[in-house]
Symmetry: C2
Subunit: 343 residues, 2 copies
């Protein structure tokens, strides 16, 4: 890509409330202490944040609420006003509704108007897709400064009335793995002190002929009696493919920038679960890079995760340091990543 | 925007079955002949195509089925192979599921892989949003040839078990206005004989502080008892704002290209309903331009409509002729448009 450098000016994140620990879940759903140990050991996710009240199941926040909070933090931290934003790009798998988009509801609440605004339907690669689209559109002319958003809210799938003790492990694990949150970043062709250059972004569909590793359904009023399963996950396929796909993205990004593995100061690996992240890190084999992960505390909050990682990395990065992030979407197998350099 | 010219190589469309006339609807739902005349006179939409069997309410096609058909036609007409496509962009308000994207299911069925693929959540401006994103990303380098898709399927909202005679007109009209379909276009920086240049695309959020003119909800398994209305439309606001917004887009596009109204050979106006399109045409006041509309026969099939109009215009256009298209989304008020020139 020719065109001006695109800078990351700021990152903001929002969580819907305090962490919900494995002990909290065990208490709420009457699971025994052995289960709690099993989660700690084999999933490695110790807490998540939920936009529903765990006791009543009543929603506490919509995605737009979280997106607005994260977006406001990102704007303030960047020193950018709503009127400076000329592009909004958001990634989510769980928009609040089909119309209007959550991106546009958030834009409206932040006072952003008269701009191009896109909402990408996407799973775990959505934050990178949104960064990718924004980076490619920022040409320093028509588009100079973008608000990029990502987030997910699982409330509509988190059925607190279920008896978890009767669920098979493959369904039960969803109550442990997933969480809610939103993130935002300001990208601009105009740098500010302390900004970093988004050197590259990449996203690639690689699912030809493969069954989806994850599906998520929505229902309309005519579907009330539908027997389609709301969500499915093929954990075996995910375990098999994600580490390899992560290695492929990393190689692709390093090669496109003529960077070596030893040049990487921070590695932001995929965040499916605490344990899966460890496996991926082991395979990627970059011992000199500092791992930047959050999933063990935040849970897998989908399109928000990369922003939580970015926030942590961006805080630490100094001039000349390099970070690479990788996100893998198992839905129809998308591998994606990005590279950042402190200036 | 600098960069190479982006050419429209082909357009394909797909409908899920034969037209369903107002008489068919009247027969099916026991409406009286006066109602049929009322629809003809005040809505001006005489037929639509539905992806459900009208008698049983059973779905006959998913959006991916229609998108695949439209996409295949567009690829064949462009003389482009699946392996030549390096970018997929789809717009829809009613994806088949939240994950995987319908864009990626269609890509898979067409044999397209190893590409960047984006699905935009969008209402009536979605086809233009998809054309816009594709045009801006096509740089002749990383991205040379894009498959752009758009479509909608209303099956999950089209409740054939309802007693239409008891519905208030504002809800009843939805059974008349909307239809199903999909469209596709191949855009490329490499022209072929007969292609046209996509001179510009524009999309702009203009809803600051306004209530949505239309909403569409999705439901998860936890929402089964939700009392949120599945769809709402503020027809008064739509009637008031859409013609003015259409005039603003037209002005913006002409001005950005230094074209005059008399230079326009084909005008593709917004397609909310047959009658609304007439009103918009009257306000736009381009008597020398040929109107290219389809909504009276296809119904408002959302993200597909622009492709049906494009198909008709593209068939007719000869060297030097100019077309302008306008699409307005009332959900959170988006105005969008594009310009095409025969070469």
């Amino acid at each position: 890509m020719s065109g001006p450098d695109v800078h990351l000016l700021s990152v903001g994140t929002a969580l819907p409330g305090p962490p919900v620990t494995n002990a909290d879940l065990a208490r709420r759903f009457g699971m025994d202490p052995l289960w709690e140990q099993w989660v700690d050991t084999f999933i490695g996710t110790t807490s998540r944040h939920l936009s529903i009240d765990l006791d009543s199941g009543v929603p506490k926040a919509e995605l737009a609420d979280l997106g607005e909070r994260a977006g406001r933090i990102a704007l303030v931290d960047a020193g950018v006003k709503a009127g400076d934003i000329d592009l909004v790009v958001m990634g989510t798998s769980t928009p609040d509704r089909l119309m209007p988009t959550t991106a546009n509801v958030v834009a409206d609440r932040l006072g952003i108007d008269q701009v191009a605004s896109y909402q990408l339907q996407s799973g775990c690669s959505g934050a990178v897709q949104a960064l990718d689209v924004a980076r490619r559109l920022l040409d320093g002319d028509r588009f100079r400064t973008a608000l990029v958003l990502g987030g997910d809210v699982v409330a509509r799938f988190y059925d607190t009335s279920q008896d978890l003790r009767k669920l098979p492990p493959a369904q039960l694990v969803n109550f442990v793995l997933f969480g809610d949150g939103a993130g935002a970043a300001v990208l601009s062709t105009d740098p500010v002190p302390g900004s970093a250059i988004l050197r590259t972004t990449a996203t690639r569909l690689v699912g030809l002929g493969s069954a989806p590793g994850a599906t998520l359904e929505w229902f309309g009023p005519n579907d009330r009696h539908s027997n389609r399963p709301p969500a499915t996950e093929d954990y075996k396929a995910i375990e098999e493919r994600v580490p390899t796909m992560a290695r492929e993205v990393l190689g692709e990004i390093l090669s496109s920038l003529s960077w070596n593995g030893e040049d990487i100061d921070y590695l932001l690996p995929p965040q499916l679960s605490g344990r899966m992240t460890e496996k991926v890190m082991a395979l990627l084999g970059l011992p000199s890079a500092t791992e930047v992960s959050c999933v063990a505390e935040t849970g897998n909050n989908g399109n928000a995760l990369v922003f939580f990682q970015l926030e942590r990395a961006f805080d630490k990065m100094v001039r000349g340091e390099r970070a690479v992030g990788v996100a893998i979407e198992s839905s129809k197998w998308i591998r994606s990543g990005f590279a950042l350099e402190g200036i």
